[in-house]
């Protein structure tokens, strides 16, 4: 489903974010991406989204080489990906419900479908009281949950989540992880970058660890830390 072939990403200011990364994620997998702050997790996510281009190597998602997608087909590519951004990336002029609805509207879904689905999804992440609140009127964790809701509202085949529980209390975090687990169970490929050691240790999924831009560990049913 997602393949990285010798991918290197060097930013404009010569910061090497990823170095020679090789990674294959098959359809239906659930993968945790762990690593210290600044090790390149978000960069990987942004490459998958084609927000950035790799400096070397190539990436393919869903059988398509990203480098070969022409500009006008990029939106189509992105609609196959649900993405929880580390900084939420909510639209400040839209309410929670409108933000979630937007992800359905870009795919051209019917208004009726949008109207019924959006409240359901927001209820699922515990925000049924905040449908009409603007991002500026939401707490950090609430914004994060709107971002999560937006990512899977249109049931994309791939879900990538960058630190989805960073601003959530342990209880809510568990709820979100269970949600991701359920989504994965119905066939969605899930990639989660996280610092939540407890969660990773408890869920025992495949763990890919980055260190300074290199994959240093890739273990099925792994834990957060290196276990000798």
């Amino acid at each position: 489903m997602i393949y990285f072939n010798n991918v290197t990403k060097v930013y404009d200011n010569d910061a090497v974010a990823l170095e020679d990364v090789n990674l294959g994620i098959e359809a239906g997998e659930f993968v945790f991406l762990v690593g210290a702050s600044g090790s390149g997790k978000s960069t990987m996510m942004r490459l998958i989204l084609k927000e950035l281009e790799p400096s070397r190597g190539n990436i393919s998602v869903n059988g398509v080489k990203l480098g070969a997608i022409p500009r006008r087909y990029v939106p189509k590519h992105r609609r196959n990906l649900g993405c929880v951004f580390q900084d939420y990336k909510l639209l400040p002029n839209k309410t929670a419900a409108e933000n979630v609805a937007y992800a359905m509207e870009v795919t051209g879904q019917k208004r009726r479908a949008v109207r019924t689905k959006v409240p359901q999804i927001l209820d699922l992440v515990g925000l049924k009281d905040k449908l009409n609140a603007f991002p500026g009127q939401l707490s950090g964790g609430e914004q994060q949950r709107v971002s999560i809701a937006r990512a899977f509202v249109s049931q994309p085949p791939i879900l990538i989540a960058d630190e989805p529980t960073g601003n959530l209390d342990p209880e809510t975090s568990v709820g979100i992880m269970q949600l991701l687990h359920r989504i994965n169970h119905i066939g969605t490929t899930v990639l989660v970058a996280t610092h939540d050691r407890e969660m990773v240790d408890v869920m025992r999924k495949r763990v890919v660890a980055l260190e300074a831009g290199r994959v240093v560990r890739d273990k099925v049913r792994g834990g957060y830390a290196n276990e000798v």
């Binding site: 927000e51 006008r72 939106p75 993405c83 639209l91 509207e105 870009v106």
Partner: protein, 293 residues
């Protein structure tokens, strides 16, 4: 794109106008002010051209008949001259009338007034032209009627000067109007660019969640359209109102301003079209800058 999208886009545009009120108001005032200046330029230009045309209409050609001209010749000439398309008005001045005029002119200097007899001054026709630039052609025709160059009196110098001045003036007014148009385009699109710049992050986010360029752009363009429409309509109404107020005032106090020379309705439509066009194009190109995500 699905047809029901248009409803969505319109709702988006209207919502954004309300939410970004400060920005909308700023863009609208900018459009209004620019279109107003542009409209004023067009009006002043039209009025000045009208006045120039008026001044031109006062040019007179006088053709003196030879002393021995028979009444028949005079009548023939008169009727043929009245058929000239360039001539708006022709007046026959008989010998007696010429003498009366002479006496009137020198009424305060009786010596001079009485110095000429009724047989000295010749009869003449005075022609008013539609366009002073035709005076050469009319003089030519008069010559072919049998008048000698010495018997024709037309202020070639004045006409030449006037033509020359009119030409420059019209030219200067056109240049000024075009410069104002360019300035308006620059200023309005600057304002739009700034207001879209303030929302570039939003555009980025929209693209990242899978919106196509068109899907992102359309509400912004509609917003630009509505802003342009409101601003330009306000401006057009003010300009047309100010114009009719001016024409009324001028006609009663000053000089006759040809109000027909300005088609108020056409002017309004032009101004609104200009405002809308700049709003739409400005939004389109400003958004495009930030779509490359």
């Amino acid at each position: 794109m699905r047809s029901n999208n248009w409803g969505f886009f319109l709702r988006e545009a209207v919502k954004n106008l309300r939410l970004n009120l400060l920005m909308s108001v700023t863009a609208i005032t900018t459009t209004a002010v620019c279109v107003m200046i542009l409209g004023a330029a067009l009006l002043v230009s039209a009025h000045l051209q009208g006045i120039i045309r008026n001044v031109g209409q006062d040019v007179t050609i006088t053709a003196f008949f030879p002393e021995n001209a028979s009444q028949e010749t005079i009548d023939d000439t008169l009727s043929s001259v009245q058929g000239y398309p360039e001539v708006s008005e022709s007046t026959y001045v008989s010998r007696e009338e010429a003498l009366d005029r002479w006496k009137e002119t020198f009424s305060d200097q009786p010596d001079i007034a009485s110095s000429v007899g009724s047989d000295v001054l010749p009869a003449s026709i005075e022609l008013q032209l539609n366009d002073p630039r035709d005076s050469g052609a009319v003089a030519e025709k008069l010559r072919s009627e049998g008048f000698e160059e010495g018997d024709l009196n037309y202020p070639q110098q004045t006409i030449d000067n006037l033509n020359w001045f009119t030409g420059y003036m019209v030219w200067a007014l056109r240049v000024a109007t075009i410069l104002f148009l360019i300035a308006s385009i620059l200023l309005i699109s600057n304002a739009i660019r700034l207001s879209i710049f303030a929302r570039r992050k939003e555009i980025e986010v929209m693209k990242l969640v899978g919106a196509s360029d068109t899907f992102v752009r359309t509400p912004f363009v509609l917003e630009g359209l509505v802003q342009g429409l409101i601003g330009a309509t306000l401006a057009a109404v003010v300009v047309v109102w100010a114009n009719s107020a001016f024409v009324n005032w001028a006609q009663s106090y000053l000089f006759s301003v040809s109000s027909e020379s300005i088609n108020a309705f056409g002017l309004m439509l032009t101004l609104i079209a200009v405002g809308v066009l700049i709003g739409v194009a400005g939004s389109y190109f400003s958004v495009r800058r930030f779509l490359k995500v």
